[in-house]
Amino acid sequence: MPELSVDHLLGIKYLNAEDINLIFKTADHFKEVINRPIKKVPSLRDITIANLFFENSTRTKLSFELAEKRLSADVINFSASQSSVNKGETLIDTVNNILSMKVDIVVMRHPNVGAGVFLSKHVDAKIINAGDGTHEHPTQALLDSYSIREKLGNVKGKKVLIVGDVLHSRVALSNIFALQLQGAKIKVCGPTTLIPKYISSLGVEVEINLKKALEWCDVANVLRVQHERMDINYFPSTREYTQLFGINKTILDNLGKKIVIMHPGPINRGVEITSDVADADQSIILNQVENGVAVRMAVIYLLAQQIKR
């Protein structure tokens, strides 16, 4: 009988290929559940989950909350902006206070790299990393791979291009780990200032020319330029970035094949991707959002299964 090999979901780098397969198979069942007239199952009715968001989020937070509610878990939400963190409380104190209210699972987004790993060593709860700084965002990578699998039948052997601000992207790193585990080929494309120097050590190729990169790939996962994480100017102007690395309909129509377009959101329309591309039928951006709920339900369900009372 299958079970996850990990106690927490801290990052894709801690998972193996069987884990990903198990999560996807479970997500298939939950995708059927969330398309029923009544989209709820009672599995987690005695489980309490805290969503701790120390950094802004719309999509991920809503997606996790919906996934938890569709599994019938009790949910409490917490945002750093309204909390005692601003009054100087430490992370462990904050979380231990929340856990004393009998919480079983913590979903956490934090601006610091490794916050989830740190927490998992100091508190007695299942931890799900919903993004830690520029490090990992495992559920996003899982839903991205799940969406590729759904669209193209298989991830193995597919050529996936990650375009944009790879340096500041936790989505990129988690995607690289997840895609490699499933046997996909990966290239990254973007301004050299936004490509990390160590990237080749991960077995990932770099292509600076967007057109060549798009001609190579089956799937392009387009990332947002994360201005909020930039303390210096990494490229001369947004206009220049768009001209060199923005994806528009003309480029796609001249490729001679139809590639799949993905974006983890939020989209800066007209910057990394134009509106007609984002809304085109080859774009699976909204499928990614729907699949996000099913994949998060699967992750929560599989981790909750390990909780024994």
């Binding site: 009988m1 299958p2 079970e3 479970t26 298939d28 069942h29 059927e32 559940v33 029923r36 007239p37 009544i38 989209k39 709820k40 199952v41 009672p42 599995s43 599994l71 369900y301 599989l302 909750a304 299964q305 909780i307 024994k308 009372r309």
Partner: protein, 179 residues
Amino acid sequence: MSKKILLNSKDIEIILHRLACQLIENHNDFSNTVLVGLQPRGSFLAKRLADLLKNQYHIKDLKLGLLDITFYRDDFRRREQPLTATSTEIDFIIEDKKVVFIDDVLFSGRSIRAALTAIQSYGRPENIELLVLIDRRFSRHLPIQPNYKGRQVDAINEEKVLVTWKETHKKDAVYLENN
């Protein structure tokens, strides 16, 4: 471990015909009735009965669905082994329909309890009946009884009733196993 045969393939064939006739007696042309096999093991019996009703008894528009109850079970996190889900395939509306649950063995009744909750996700049926191949008497944990049963069996808790089907084990048979 000893293994005793309870029903052979001939017995099962006779029982399937009887169950099919009993269903026709109560549901006529099945215009307002749907059959729902409980995954995974009830699905074989459900498919077999549906084939029989269509081919031998000429029921034209028979609706058959398969229901997985994994996420509705009451032993989640209470078992040694994790639960594995199977697929649910119900592509029709249950609202105001007569539903017949089909399962191979009725033991504690807990699976049926879970199925009663699960089916509500597809609407409010007019009524629900239960058809089982084997009814293990005196083993119920809940007040649940079958409307149609193939054979009633008195087995002690340590004994296991094993149903095999041609589709998976090359042979239709029901065994009583004693560990």
